[in-house]
């Protein structure tokens, strides 16, 4: 039986524009590029799944091909779907662990000093490389000693003094690795006069999708749609997220890839900078003190795919005193868990090299970007600290 749910491959005019903009095809000939792995072979795959070309596993799902395509072909979605629909799943403990951000996070935060100590130790890295095929050169994000959710238990008490409420989807990274960003989000939203609600969310599912755990991702998705929609205080209320990949998942990947009905929340989701900018444009601007920095802004692939980069840039421009250098759009190469795997590590580093070069050339005080994994990749490969736009705004708020 031919499955015909994504026939956008039929609109492909074979112009090869997608392949020009694919960062993976640029650095390795092991990957034939989006045109071939996407629309070209999808024709064959739908007839006979055995014609699956395993080289498509090199796709990092950055979605740059979809931005470039003049014919609206959902190339990356075709490739992602083919990966899990047609390929035989082999169990890999590494992929299992890398995709269980919540499980790893719970463990990591409880034992954070020990875990952080060990993940920085040379001998442990050697072991990770040997046993798990996790590259030695890779640095790991630290686990926090107290989760964001735990901190929020206190903060929740004073959210009731705000009449209007916003639902905040914080994501695993904020919870386990970087609660400070979550605190900054709460500070900014409170400064705008909005109280914050958080739900019993699960991981958005991005790492699960990337590692082929589709059923699990679907069950997380269903859960999140349910708890988020229930938490909405009224129909027009907003769900904000400060992670570009979580937002992309909630908004696009749930319906397009996981075939979940996200209509109860779809129109309420806003990436945080968009929400804040909307408030600013309504005149709801807190007092801002000037920040005399020169920053280089890197636009994450998934934020670009959502068409949200402009909101972040506009918001940064509203911070007094700040000089923003917009870097030429390049993929940093890490693509979530992709850069954590031996077989892709060299590719991931080669993809990022362009970006690292232009960051060095810009020589800013620090780098600003919206994505947590971009942050790890840039901090590992340049001498610069990477800050989230909302943290910068939080600093400017008096």
């Amino acid at each position: 039986m031919i499955k015909l749910e994504n026939i956008s491959f039929d609109h492909c005019i074979k112009c090869t524009v997608c392949t020009i903009y694919c960062p993976v095809a640029r650095v390795t000939h092991l990957y034939p590029g989006p045109k071939q792995s996407g629309p070209d072979t999808e024709r064959l795959r739908i007839k006979n799944p055995q014609l699956l070309d395993i080289s498509l596993k090199y796709c990092s799902n950055c979605k740059r091909c979809e931005i470039a395509c003049p014919s609206d072909v959902k190339i990356a979605d075709i490739i992602q779907t083919a990966k899990w629909r047609y390929s035989k799943k082999e169990f890999r403990i590494r992929d299992f662990l890398l995709s269980r951000t919540d499980l790893m996070g719970t463990f990591g935060t409880i034992f954070s000093p020990i875990v952080n100590f060990f993940t920085h130790l040379g001998i442990v890295k050697y072991f990770l490389d040997l046993v798990f095929q996790i590259p030695k050169g890779r640095t790991f994000p630290n686990y926090a000693s107290m989760t964001f959710r735990k901190w929020f238990k206190e903060a929740r008490k004073y959210q009731n003094k705000y009449l209007e409420k916003v639902v905040y989807f914080h994501g695993c990274y904020v919870n386990y690795n970087y609660p400070q960003l979550g605190k900054d989000v709460v500070k900014v939203l409170n400064a705008l006069g909005k109280g914050v609600i958080i739900t019993k969310e699960k991981c958005c599912g991005v790492p699960l999708i990337a590692n082929g755990y589709i059923k699990k991702a679907q069950s997380h998705g269903r859960h999140n749609i349910r708890v988020l929609s229930r938490a909405l205080p009224h129909e027009q209320a907003r769900i904000v997220s400060a992670s570009s990949s979580c937002s992309l998942a909630l908004k696009h990947e749930y319906p397009n890839l996981l075939e979940l009905d996200n209509t109860p929340i779809a129109n309420n989701i806003a990436y945080i900078t968009q929400y804040v900018l909307e408030e600013f444009e309504k005149g709801n601007i807190p007092n801002l003190k000037p920040l005399k920095y020169t920053v280089a802004y890197h636009s994450p692939c998934h934020l670009e795919r959502m068409g949200n980069v402009a909101f972040t840039i506009e918001l940064l421009r509203k911070i007094p005193g700040l000089t923003v250098k917009i870097l030429h759009s390049e993929c940093c190469g890490i693509s979530g868990t992709y850069g954590f795997k031996n077989e892709y590590y060299a590719i991931s580093q080669a993809v990022g090299s362009e970006l690292f070069k232009i960051i060095e050339e810009a020589s800013p005080d620090f780098v600003v970007t919206d994505c947590e994994t971009c942050k790890w990749q840039i901090e590992m490969n340049t001498k610069y600290t990477v800050v989230h736009p909302i943290s910068l705004l939080a600093e400017a708020i008096e």
């Binding site: 090869t16 000939h29 470039a68 003049p70 030429h328």
Partner: protein, 431 residues
């Protein structure tokens, strides 16, 4: 979000208008849904190549003849002085990004196509048109056309055969050579699957350039100049060209390839970098799906990714291109412009849209279809009212034929410049 000017469509036209607007201090955004026709074009800028199937040598003189017969022609709305100014502006902006455009002192010149035909054009990049080639043209004895083994989109023998038919090359020996570079084959799983972009990337690695230069020198023995497909990189092409020429001591000339066009990509890159450098906001991969207006004034537009979130501006430029890029949509028996539902010029009967022969000398009528505008490039809505704050530029405009007249990029640049000018003067009045 609020802007002074929102440009819909990021092709050569939208980018030219965008650069002009940000330079004058307007807060400007470009929204573009996919990559533009520059990725398919030759990378040379045609202003006016043919009239009545005859080659034009002096485009600015021929303009009067053209606009004399087609009063509605976009060039007629621009006027000669503005067209000259627009082209100079475009040239200078490209130069800021190290893309150097040569003109032939206001005359057209010829560039060689991948099929070996000669096409009149106005501006070409340094590696395609330059004084050296021009001066040596008459005394030339031997030309070598080189291809790279494994690149399947170019046939040097065909190009050589075609070129030698041309009177200009009557006394010239033209030979075709193929360069086999085993070191390059290591780089790929399927050596027969090279596309222009793969080879351009091989050129961008400096180590390879020296090896390629040596291979070219070997292949080109005794030639006056060497023609290669346009592979000399997307970013550091000037440097690559210099290395190749100095190491081989030959004149090396690029010809455009089949899409994706490396020469076109260079211009696309240059214009986008320039726009960003000046502070313009480029929103890629999002499509404007509808507009909101009241009393013939557009208030806001909405995109596919943000159906609930208005993008507002005082002025709009519609440069969404023709059918190919989705600027206009054709259905079985009708055509429409999807963003503002503008009034179009076209024949309602489908069988009048195209000519029976594919390569018909008068080209196909549908190429002349498009948005109808007033003298100032403002369009009409379905009720025949002028939309006050929208201007149209580029391939979406009606009443010209980019193929038959050889004027695609010239019209795109001139009308963009004109539209931007109108907006800039109104903007200054408002302040």
């Amino acid at each position: 979000m609020k802007f002074d000017c929102i440009i819909i469509g990021g092709g050569i036209s939208g980018l030219t208008a965008g650069i002009r607007c940000v330079k004058e201090g307007l807060h400007t955004a470009i929204i573009s849904s996919g990559m533009s026709a520059l990725h398919f074009s030759s990378g040379s800028i045609d202003v006016l190549g043919y009239i009545n199937n005859k080659v034009v040598y002096k485009p600015f003189e021929a303009l009067d003849t053209l606009t004399g017969t087609i009063a509605q022609h976009p060039y007629a709305k621009c006027g000669k002085a503005l067209i000259v100014e627009a082209l100079q502006f475009f040239k200078q902006e490209c130069e800021t990004q190290n893309v150097y455009l040569f003109d032939n002192e206001n005359l057209n010149h010829f560039h060689v196509t991948a099929l070996g035909t000669l096409k009149p054009t106005y501006f070409s990049q340094r590696s395609v048109f330059n004084e050296d080639v021009y001066n040596r043209f008459k005394s030339m004895k031997k030309i070598v056309i080189v291809n790279f083994e494994g690149y399947r989109d170019f046939h040097p023998q065909l190009a050589a055969a075609q070129l030698s038919k041309h009177a200009l090359f009557a006394n010239c020996e033209i030979i075709a050579k193929s360069i086999d570079m085993p070191q390059l084959q290591d780089l790929t799983r399927h050596p027969h699957e090279y596309r222009s972009i793969d080879i351009a990337r091989i050129f961008e690695n400096e180590e390879n350039v020296y090896r390629i230069a040596d291979a070219i020198r070997l292949a080109a023995e005794g030639a006056d100049f060497v023609v290669i497909p346009a592979f000399m990189g997307i970013h550091n092409f000037n440097q690559i060209h210099n290395i190749l020429q100095s190491r081989t001591r030959l004149l090396i000339y690029e010809i455009p390839t089949l899409p994706p066009s490396i020469l076109g990509l260079r211009i696309d890159n240059a214009l986008k970098s320039r726009f960003a450098q000046l502070g313009g906001v480029y929103i890629a991969g999002d499509k404007v799906v509808r507009a909101e207006s009241s009393n013939d004034v557009v208030q806001a537009v909405y995109t596919a990714n943000h159906p609930e979130n208005p993008l507002e501006a005082k002025f709009y430029i519609l440069s969404t291109g023709s059918f190919f890029s989705g600027g206009m949509i054709s259905e079985f028996n009708n055509m429409y412009e999807p963003v503002f539902k503008l009034k179009l010029h076209y024949e309602p009967e489908r069988n009048k849209w195209y000519s029976p022969q594919f390569f018909y000398s008068n080209s196909h009528p549908f190429l002349e279809y498009g948005v109808v505008t007033d003298e100032n490039l403002r369009p009409y809505d379905s009720k025949n009212n002028i939309i006050q704050n929208v201007y149209c530029s580029g391939a979406i405009l009606a009443h010209y034929n980019p193929i038959r007249e050889g004027c695609g990029s010239g019209v795109a640049i001139s009308t963009a410049y004109k539209a931007a000018n109108q907006i800039i003067s109104l903007y200054k009045l408002m302040r």
